[in-house]
């Protein structure tokens, strides 16, 4: 089954087979980053614009490197220095950029649905690099890929996602991704940060990390933002990490061989102690490495042209 969509907006609309085909494609891209010359000409001559309205270092750099390794020409647009500040609407910004003849758009925006909105008005393929609290498909894809590389399979695994589920696009995309590939997903956090109806999306709910850890094959820790304190989602960071932070003591409850993940950046000492972040079960750095391969795969798959051709001699 091939991936034949024109955009990557989220994982909710994809089938398990489509997600599998993206992961399989990513396999082939891992090796490229290990070559002496880390470049292939497949996107040569194509212009990819990274339209980032929200600050992001790691995701933007990851996309940029992926694009450059595929020999594409990359243009970066960071919201603070740009027309958004001058009051230009999103639609006009995108249309203006497209008129310069770009071939693909990678967009991150704080408004849920921004990527879909752009995909509707633009001709070129759009990749969602995060739209508000809605979805972050390439993050979930790299998480899935990392688990696959580490554990061989995804079906049948128990995945535990811990933290601020309410505001997390990473959590949502991962719930879709892991469920569609046959894993069982549980979300865990203070009740104030678990959105209503999350069960309908396919996740079980737990308010007790210690209770849920022993059954987890994969533990994904999400970042907690300090801003949540003033909206009273929990009393203090100290209490949050007492109950929901991963430290050496809690890790004793986990299975041996558990896979510990984090989309980054980590608040050391809050979600995770340095001991766990740097410990033997953590695959956090691999996530970053595989993020490149996954993004290259997505860029490759979306870069197809118009006519069909026979694939033989």
């Amino acid at each position: 089954m091939k991936f034949e969509r024109g955009n990557l907006l989220g994982l909710e609309e994809l089938t398990g087979a489509e997600i599998e085909s993206i992961l399989e494609t990513a396999e082939s891209f891992v090796e490229i980053s290990e070559r002496p010359l880390k470049k292939v000409p497949v996107l040569r001559g194509l212009t990819v614009v990274n339209l980032f309205f929200e600050p992001s270092t790691r995701t933007r750099i990851s996309f940029e490197i992926a694009e450059k390794r595929l020999s594409a020409d990359t243009v970066n647009f960071a919201a603070t220095t740009s027309s958004a500040v001058k009051g230009e609407t999103l639609k006009d910004t995108a249309r203006n950029i497209e008129s310069m003849g770009i071939d693909m758009l990678v967009v991150r925006h704080s408004a849920p649905g921004a990527a879909a909105y752009l995909a509707d008005i633009l001709e070129c393929p759009v990749i969602n690099a995060g739209d508000g609290s809605h979805e972050h498909p390439t993050q979930a894809l790299l998480d899935l890929f990392t688990v696959k590389q580490n554990r061989g399979k995804i079906a049948g695994l128990n995945v535990l996602i811990v933290g601020d589920i309410l505001h997390s696009r990473v959590a949502r995309s991962n719930i879709f991704g892991f469920s569609k590939l046959g894993a069982s997903v549980t979300v865990c956090g203070p009740p104030t940060l678990i959105p209503p109806g999350i069960e309908k999306l396919g996740a079980k709910v737990s308010y007790d990390l210690c209770n849920s850890l022993p059954e987890a094959d994969v533990v994904m820790m999400l970042r907690i933002q300090r801003e949540r304190l003033k909206d009273c989602f929990f009393p203090t960071l100290r209490e949050y990490s007492e109950f929901f932070g991963l430290d050496g003591e809690k890790m004793k409850l986990a299975r041996s061989g558990v896979t510990v993940m984090h989309p980054g950046p980590i608040n050391r000492g809050v979600e995770m102690t340095p001991e766990v972040a740097d410990g033997p079960y953590s695959v956090i750095l691999e996530q970053v490495k595989y993020g490149l391969a996954v993004r290259m795969a997505v860029l490759y798959l979306l870069s197809g042209g118009e006519l069909s051709s026979e694939d033989s001699h």
Binding site: P190, Y207, D208, L229, D231, C232, P235, E239, F243
Partner: protein, 432 residues
């Protein structure tokens, strides 16, 4: 240590028991050999003859104010725990509005330690919802609950911000314990000091309308349903609030409520004469409200009787009505008033009374008391439902004297109280 309680009328709603039977207490627990011990007086350490008395699981007062830390002149954990025993209460839960406020694991541990030192009634901390009771941000509820708190409340104050109340209700889903709400809209109460009605007009005092309570009860029940969480309405006082609770229960909401003896006994007419011992929040209400409360006690809408024991020194209460602090004590008159007004007043039966004063409050707070089943902790209260006595506050163990029932003749008296198999009060006298 074996204690045999014989010839008593054992009323234990948790087991559906109301009959004459003997109870054996062994090593601090109710012994399964109770029935068989009949006649085996020889090998027990003490025999208590409970003839003519009701043998009930120890009463639980889920709403008291102990003024420690900060106002030890009015009450301390120890004096409050002693007053509790005199009132038949083997367990009490105290509110956090002390100086400083009881919050976090340190606050919870402080109260638990002081209670253990006193060695009288068991004392459990209810901790603050908001830091310093300022109503702005959550206090470290999790740490406090882990340390042994039994619930959270900003009592004394309402949580005015609905968004904060919502978060508190959601957050408490992590624990099997209630959010206890002091339901009052401050902007509606304003500077009122008694119920708003004919009497307040007559006396020229500013009134607190019933709606000030009703709107908050409505709001809190809705938020509790939204969060899927447990709400306990403190000191309910109006007909409308009761209707809202009844409707909420019918819908399956996790809401419970309590009433104080002064609210189901006195009306706002008690304020005539400007006696500050009739001043408390919520205020004494109208005769219609009192009638509704009694109906609620009868029908089951009300789950518990809790005293809202609020000690104040004589100097504090000895002021113009407007300026005196709100609050009356109640632990040492609770049984007398409840028995006289409700049992002898033919509103409820004795088993229902025990349910209101022991079974239900224990259940709401998730305490393993309020029951005399085999193996339960030996917390027992023996009372004489027919004994007549006159309320003389000078005999109270409480450090404060602010009771509205001074000089009342009541029928129903606590005789003996046992906590964890230790006899702390015997025949009306605290054991030394």
């Amino acid at each position: 240590m074996k204690i045999l309680i014989k010839n008593g009328r054992v009323i234990d709603p948790s087991q559906g028991v109301d009959e004459k039977r003997d109870i054996l207490l062994e090593d601090g627990l109710v012994s399964p050999a109770g029935g068989a011990a009949r006649g085996a007086d020889g090998d027990v350490d003490e025999t208590i003859d409970a003839g003519g008395l009701v043998v009930s699981p120890g009463f639980v007062d889920m709403h008291v104010h102990l003024r420690e830390p900060g106002r030890e002149d009015a009450e301390t954990v120890e004096s409050g725990a002693r007053a509790a025993i005199r009132g038949g209460f083997t367990s009490i839960a105290c509110m956090p509005n002390t100086e400083p406020v009881i919050e976090g694991d340190e606050g919870a541990e402080f109260i638990l330690a002081r209670g253990r030192e006193a060695g009288l009634a068991r004392v459990f901390p209810i901790v603050a919802i908001s830091r310093k009771l300022e109503g702005e941000v959550l206090s470290e509820i999790g740490a406090a609950m882990r340390a042994g708190a039994v619930g959270v409340s900003d009592d004394g104050m309402p949580v005015m911000r609905a968004s904060l109340m919502r978060r508190a209700l959601e957050y408490m889903k992590m624990f099997e314990a209630p959010v206890i709400s002091h339901c009052e809209d401050i902007s509606l109460s304003g500077s009122g000091c008694m119920n708003e009605g004919n009497t307040s007009t007559l006396l020229g005092l500013k009134g607190i309308p019933s709606e000030s309570e009703d709107v908050m009860v409505a709001r809190d029940i809705m938020l509790a349903e939204m969060a899927g969480s447990r709400l306990h309405v403190a000191h309910i006082s109006t007909r409308r609030s009761l209707e809202l609770v009844a409707e909420g229960k019918a819908r399956g909401a996790g809401v419970t409520c309590e009433v104080t003896p002064h609210h189901f006994t006195l009306t706002d007419e008690a304020v005539k004469g400007y006696d500050t011992r009739a001043k408390m929040k919520p205020p004494l209400r109208s005769a219609d409200d009192v009638a509704a409360l009694r109906q609620g006690l009868k029908r089951g809408t009300i789950d518990a009787i809790a005293t809202d024991h609020a000690p104040h020194t004589e100097e504090e209460k000895d002021q113009e009505f407007d300026l005196a602090p709100f609050g009356v004590i109640g632990m040492e008159t609770a049984l007398g008033i409840a028995c006289s007004e409700l049992y002898h007043g033919k509103v409820i039966s004795l088993p229902r009374l025990v349910e209101l004063m022991s079974t239900n409050p224990a259940k709401i707070l998730g305490l393993p008391y309020g029951t005399l089943r085999d193996g339960a902790p030996a917390d027992v209260t023996l009372f004489d439902p027919d004994a007549e006595w006159t309320v003389d506050e000078r005999e109270f163990a409480s450090r404060s004297r602010n009771t509205p029932f001074s000089g009342w003749k009541v029928k129903g008296r606590v005789v003996s109280v046992i906590v964890g198999g230790k006899v702390l009060m015997r025949d009306g006298a605290i054991a030394s």
